[in-house]
């Protein structure tokens, strides 16, 4: 045990240490080497969440209700996973608008409503005040336990409260601007977070491993004891799953909306990037500080402690084991937990009270001498008042409540802010009236279902009159509102308060109209919109702004603020533009928001707005003209947009319908557009072509065209067509600032084929005329010569003459055959066509060859299908077939096989002559149908046979093609249209 004086000196020493630490941090900040602006200190400062409730109350809760104490830490852990989305947005908005409290945040969101800010402040003060008191109660109680007597505890409590108030004033309210960060305060809070964590780990380790054999030993023992149900949840235990879920939800809201949490997480945040590290560091801190809660609670019970005294197990166990120094360290840990909460919470609440309840009443007295000092001192008084209000609660009603019970009531109270705050961040239609209705309804239910029963139980109010009637009625029973039974008190209160809060928030918001200011603020908060210079605002000169500021924050501060603004933008006081004046006004509003709250700042600047009646009239006319011209511009823009859409569609239809392949390429020759015809020509779909290099897609094109050396070419490409297609390509530079090309593809395969046919036909026509003349001119004299030679042969002449005449006659016969062939070639176009069976024509031709000895070595195979009658010239076709068979004979001097087939294919008849002869070179295959071209030796062929065949088949409207390879035989393919 320690004497009260010893303890008092220890506490005093610790407080002095806190002062030194905070002072050191501020000195560092002033020297430009901040030790606070980092994510680790930020994360530790968030641990102000862990109050004496965590330090003492969690053990008490674990000893009485089992695992439910964990919800208070699991909820913030879950909520931390959303900080990337939610908290970062809140910080950005708060920094942009110099928002310093949660009441300011909600008030600003809904049109800078002073009423809403005041309402939130009242809810926060009523909800948090008693909780603040219980922290002081925890200090006094633990002081008493450690001192072993009550004497001096109350006095120590009073003194400690005073010291905490002074600390909060020195490190939280030295200046008026609440948006200014308090590095000394934050560093002290972070230090206290470390102290309380180490102290709890020490006592936890001592109990778990010093008094028992570890976790499993304690759990096994407690399982076998009468308190075995502490390890379970749900049916048959003291905590239902409903209660578990409700507590989890309440703690998720508490970490966001408790005023002290808002202060450390948002106002004291120096860099929004610190949030990311805090997202896992803070939950890790909560995990560590809770590891030994169950072992300490269960250990206390196993050592004979009662559940009623479980709140103080962390102190009483070391004391009972004679570990006084450990107990003293634990006391310091608990003291740290309580003082951190008291300091930050009182600072946050006092700022809310000052900005939203006090300032609206006094801000019009700004003409009073020393007004800024008065405001600052008022704020200090309010801080001290908040701390001593806690002291009042501690000594008056503290004995009636447990730490957990009062803490949860506070959690329920701040959960009332959730709909307005969270939904307001993402839903623009939420209105001031909706928030007010929901908040008031929720607060009334909170008062009726949670606070009033507690006050009745403590005897502070008596159950009589109308109150007695209400409490005992079926419908208005505060524990079973509207007859709803079966819920624990936290779930019951949460259900009804949240239900009415949400219904009224949405309902009223949907059915009422927002003011212009509400709409503007909704944009600022939901869309993170930063309002630029807004013409409707009142304009002040630089001096006027400075004068306004000095009335509220002091002459030196006002001058500094204005000078900072001007120097940052490198503007001279007398050369400031209209736009910069508007920005200066916004800056002034932000500074005043930081010091006095956003609603008051707006009121102050609006009050100062001086416009004459004429000026107001001019302003109104200007706005009307501007809005009219804006409306016209919008109409014109919409019309132009429609026309543009039509033109775009029209031009696209043209490009898609034209029978030309069109593609556009960018400067790097990658495909940007690919029309439908391109898909048909190339077989490549738009999707597959887009973005690909044209060189890859159109590899058949010569590289010259892509190198820009040529802009048109004809190329044979193996595209979608079964055979090669001949394409005409034109490429021209694109008239676009970004560069690029337009490629136009035309399929000219058919055109080229027609041209070739025309050329061949004209060749034949010319040669036909020539041969007709030649055969006539040579034929007549040759007939005379032949008859004379025959007459001479009949004469009895010398043997030499006889032999010579025989030779002459043979040559004459040969010349006559040639002349007849020429005559036949010339007469091709003059023969008539009659309906005939092509099979009969082929049969008669093959019959002719059967009697020719030369065909003995040739094996002729036929494969003939039935085909309809065709209008043909049978003699001419017989000549064609015979020519082809004779050619085959010549190509197979040592014998071979000739296969002849007739097939009907679609609308034509295909006749194929395929031999196994010597074949034809690829180089000359294109010339075999040319007149006088022959591969036979001199005197063996006229070179007219195949040319005659070609002419005959063309005359029948058909085609004849040859396919051959040297050494692998030759195939002639004749196609005749059936309409013949």
């Amino acid at each position: 045990m320690f004497t009260p004086w010893t303890l008092f000196l220890v506490v005093l020493g610790y407080l002095i240490l806190l002062f030194v630490i905070a002072y050191y941090a501020e000195r560092k900040e002033k020297s430009g080497r901040s030790i606070v602006s980092n994510p680790y200190v930020y994360s530790l400062s968030l641990a102000v969440y862990c109050t004496s409730w965590t330090f003492y109350g969690s053990v008490g809760k674990a000893a009485t209700s089992g695992l439910s104490f964990l919800t208070i830490y699991l909820g913030p852990t879950l909520m931390a996973s959303l900080w990337w989305v939610v908290l970062r947005k809140i910080i950005r908005i708060a920094k942009e608008n110099r928002i310093t409290t949660i009441s300011d945040f909600i008030g600003s969101r809904y049109g800078k409503s002073l009423f809403l800010s005041a309402l939130v402040t009242i809810v926060a003060v009523v909800g948090i005040g008693p909780y603040l008191g219980l922290q002081i109660k925890a200090i006094i109680s633990t002081f008493t336990i450690l001192a072993g007597e009550t004497k001096g505890s109350i006095a120590a409590g009073w003194f400690i409260t005073l010291m905490l108030g002074i600390f909060a004033i020195i490190f939280g309210a030295r200046r008026l601007d609440s948006s200014e960060r308090h590095e000394g305060l934050v560093f002290a809070i972070a230090f206290e977070s470390i102290v309380k964590l180490i102290a709890f780990l020490f006592v936890g380790f001592f109990v778990t491993y010093g008094l028992f054999d570890g976790f499993f030993d304690i759990f096994e023992r407690i399982k076998d004891s009468e308190h075995g149900d502490l390890l379970f949840l749900g049916g048959g235990t003291s905590v239902s799953y409903n209660e578990w879920a409700s507590l989890l939800f309440l703690s998720m809201m508490a970490i966001m909306f408790l005023p002290r949490q808002f202060h450390v997480a948002v106002v004291e945040n120096s860099d929004v990037s610190h949030v990311s590290k805090a997202m896992w560091l803070f939950p890790l801190y909560l995990f560590l500080i809770n590891i030994f809660v169950m072992p300490v609670a269960h250990g206390g019970l196993l050592l004979g402690g009662s559940q009623a005294e479980a709140d103080s197990f962390v102190l009483t166990i070391p004391l009972s084991q004679g570990k006084s120094l450990l107990a003293l360290f634990v006391f310091i840990g608990g003291f740290s937990a309580a003082t951190a909460m008291i300091i930050v919470e009182s600072l946050a609440i006092s700022t809310m009270v000052m900005n939203n309840l006090v300032m609206p009443a006094i801000y019009r007295f700004n003409e009073m001498k020393g007004f800024p000092t008065i405001i600052l001192n008022l704020k200090r008084i309010i801080i001290m008042g908040s701390v001593f209000l806690g002291y009042f609660f501690a000594v008056s009603i503290g004995e009636f409540y447990t730490l957990v019970d009062m803490g949860l009531k506070s959690f329920e109270a701040v959960t009332l802010f959730a709909p307005a705050f969270l939904i307001g961040l993402y839903w623009k239609q939420g209105s001031k009236k909706g928030v007010a209705a929901g908040l008031i309804a929720g607060f009334v239910i909170w008062l009726y279902t949670l606070l009033m029963p507690a006050l009745l139980r403590s005897g502070l109010i008596e159950e009589q009159g109308i109150l007695a009637y209400l409490v005992s009625s079926e419908i208005f029973n505060p524990h079973a509102l509207f007859g709803l039974k079966g819920l624990d008190k936290w779930s019951h209160s949460l259900l009804w308060s949240l239900f009415f809060n949400l219904m009224l928030y949405f309902g009223v918001s949907i059915f009422t109209r927002q003011t212009e200011e509400e709409e503007r603020q909704a944009l600022v908060f939901v869309e993170s919109y930063s309002p630029r210079a807004i013409p409707g605002k009142g304009l002040y000169s630089v001096n006027q702004v400075e004068n306004i500021l000095l009335q509220y924050i002091g002459r030196r501060e006002a001058r500094e603020a204005v000078e900072n603004f001007l120097s940052k933008r490198k503007i001279k006081r007398d050369e400031i533009s209209h736009r910069d004046l508007l920005k200066l006004r916004d800056e002034a509003e932000r500074i005043l928001s930081g010091a006095l709250g956003a609603p008051i700042a707006t009121l102050i600047l609006e009050d100062k707005l001086i416009l004459t009646k004429e000026e107001r009239g001019e302003l109104s006319s200007s706005i009307k003209v501007m809005s009219d011209s804006l409306r016209l511009s919008r109409q014109e823009l919409a019309e132009a947009n429609r026309e543009l859409s039509f033109l775009k569609e029209f031009s696209q239809n043209i490009i898609e319908s034209v029978p030309l392949g069109i593609a556009t390429l960018d400067a790097e020759l990658n495909v940007r557009y690919w029309n439908k015809e391109m898909e048909i020509i190339t077989g490549i779909s738009k999707g597959n072509a887009h973005g690909k290099p044209a060189k890859e897609l159109l590899s058949c094109m010569e590289p010259d065209i892509f190198a820009g050396r040529r802009f048109d070419q004809e190329c044979a490409c193996q595209m979608k067509h079964p055979s090669q297609a001949t394409l005409k390509v034109a490429m021209s530079p694109f008239r676009d600032p970004g560069g690029g090309y337009v490629l136009v593809f035309e399929d000219i395969t058919e055109k080229k084929r027609m041209e070739e046919q025309l050329l061949q036909a004209s060749k034949h026509a010319s040669i036909g005329k020539l041969t007709a003349g030649v055969s006539h001119e040579i034929g007549n004299p040759l007939a005379s010569i032949s008859s004379l030679v025959q007459e001479l042969q009949a004469e009895d002449t010398a043997p030499f003459v006889k032999e010579s005449l025989k030779t002459i006659n043979q040559h004459i016969e040969r010349i006559a055959r040639i002349v007849r062939s020429l005559g036949d070639f010339a007469r091709l176009y003059r023969r008539e066509k009659i309906p005939s069976n092509i099979k009969d024509v082929l049969d008669s031709t093959t019959n002719l060859t059967r009697y020719d000895k030369k065909f003995n070595k040739i094996d002729i195979e036929t494969d003939i299908e039935e085909v309809p009658l065709m209008k043909i010239n049978p003699d001419q076709l017989q000549q064609v077939f015979l020519n082809l068979m004779l050619n085959a004979l010549d190509a197979m001097p040592d014998g071979g096989k000739l296969r002849i087939s007739i097939k009907r294919i679609d609308g034509s008849v295909e006749i194929i002559f395929k031999d196994t002869g010597i074949g034809v070179d690829k180089e000359i295959i294109d010339r075999v149908f040319d007149p006088f071209f022959t591969t036979k030796g001199p005197g063996k062929g006229t070179g007219l046979g195949l040319s005659i065949c070609y002419g005959i088949i063309k005359d029948h409207g058909g085609t004849i093609n040859v396919d051959s390879e040297k050494g692998h035989g030759t195939t002639f393919i004749i196609r005749l249209p059936l309409e013949n």
Binding site: L78, S81, W84, V85, G234, Y241, K277, W280
Partner: protein
């Protein structure tokens, strides 16, 4: 990885894991389950923050 969706997904996993019916499923050793999953959840937060942080820095 789209950031808001990732965090909302993680949040929903946490909500489900720390409520009925999972609490009922693991009721035999509830303290072990709660503390183990708590640690897993913190680890997931740490990993996600690292991955997203790297993406933001363009690493």
């Amino acid at each position: 990885m789209k950031r808001p969706e990732v965090w909302i997904f993680l949040f929903i996993i946490g909500i489900l894991a720390f409520n009925w019916p999972f609490l009922d499923i693991f009721s035999i050793s509830l303290p072990e389950y709660l503390f183990s999953f708590w640690l897993v959840f913190i680890t997931l937060l740490f990993i996600f923050i690292r991955v997203i942080g790297k993406k933001e820095r363009g690493v």
